[in-house]
Symmetry: C2
Subunit: 245 residues, 2 copies
């Protein structure tokens, strides 16, 4: 069984090893919009499921792999970054079936949204950085606030996944407040929506200028460190840090 | 001009857009071992330079692009992660030439070593994480110590680039000490050497069992968080964090 990353959306950003796995699979398992990216062909069954059923989806994939199918679990971006790889291993542990531990499970990486966005912006993650999932579905919001403060204190550039949803509209406003305190209001923040897709839209402002409406669930947000700057149309973080912060 | 990522070493982990850029380039610029990965062909000039001359290399690439060449600057992994993208923008800023600001400079991402290693290990970066370059060439060691402590306090999984070199053998031992204090000695640490290459070697131990000799400059080191665990041959970090840390 393979757990593969499809990258952010542009089909030319898929690795050839992932393309090969998809061409050989008998069964594709994943969230509806990612499975939609796989071309139909004879001998291939597509199993598309809704959001928030990751463990059921992973268990189904393991069952099919145990029965001899060539299963590919597809994620957007990289399966190891806020995607299906951890869910499959959680399901494997929870199932507690000895035979499943012998399954050949391989994770094949893809271009994760944060680094695809970084490339389009310039090089904002060019120095030490942190990646944080801002959704509080699976962890308490207080832990997210703590991590934002500590990442700011450390001087990390930051990439945020799932910055804002309709079910929790106030949290991203609170995140911006914490970031202004921890990083300073002149720090640059970029909003990258639909990266590498036809409707891609990228905006860079200062934290002081940033408003919660600039992000939604299709946006990756990148915050620089205090040295992040513009040169021409590009935003980059220098490789050097001259002092101890 | 394109700044492209070749991924960690396996040619099937290159994206098709990067393969296309290389096939169309007139000039390839990069560090010797990465330029060696590019096949020679008529009409293509390879410009391979030594380590630690990133700004000279970037300036040369900009000069050639300004003179009309189709230049590809190649990095291993992802050019935006401790690689050439920031160096090119630093060189662009330092050159202070108005005409160069109009150059079409694009960064094309690749699979970065940390995420390639993570995939081979299982899913150790499956929750919030930090990426830290442990080399003190361009920043003070005291800042690295501070970042290790804060990342541990935040409960980030961590990926380390350039963990250990002959010129600074004691620093990685000190990093392991700090990590034991900040994360706890039972936290899992993985050493991934030559990821995706024929001599790939991956070892996972606890921080208490880890020794400095387990890393060298060809190793990416990954430290889990307190929930990181083994299931069968895999190491993964769950997506959830049940408490505020």
């Amino acid at each position: 069984m393979k757990i593969v990353g499809l990258g952010p959306g542009d089909e030319t950003m898929v690795t050839t090893q992932v393309q090969h796995v998809i061409s050989e699979a008998t069964d594709i398992v994943g969230y509806i919009p990612y499975v939609k990216r796989i071309p139909e062909r004879p001998g291939l069954t597509l199993h598309a499921t809704d959001n928030r059923v990751e463990i059921e989806r992973a268990t189904h994939a393991l069952e099919m792999a145990a029965s001899g199918k060539r299963v590919a679990v597809v994620s957007s971006g990289d399966p190891g970054v806020f995607a299906m790889a951890s869910a499959v291993f959680e399901a494997l542990e929870a199932a507690n079936k000895l035979a499943w531990l012998d399954l050949d499970i391989q994770v094949l990486p893809g271009i994760t949204a944060m680094l695809a966005a970084s490339a389009r912006i310039g090089a904002p993650m060019g120095h030490d950085f942190a990646a944080i999932n801002l959704s509080d579905n699976l962890k308490p919001w207080s832990l997210i606030e703590k991590r934002l403060r500590l990442a700011g204190e450390a001087g990390f550039a930051m990439g945020f996944y799932n910055p804002r949803s309709k079910s929790r509209p106030h949290q991203f406003a609170r995140a911006l407040e914490i970031l202004r305190e921890a990083c300073g209001g002149e720090t640059l923040i970029s909003f990258a929506r639909d990266v590498s897709k036809p409707d891609e839209r990228i905006t860079t402002v200062t934290l002081n200028e940033a408003t919660p409406e600039m992000a939604d669930m299709r946006t990756v947000v990148i915050v620089g460190n205090k040295d992040t700057r513009r040169v021409g149309a590009h935003v980059y973080t220098p490789r050097y840090a001259p002092d101890a912060g």
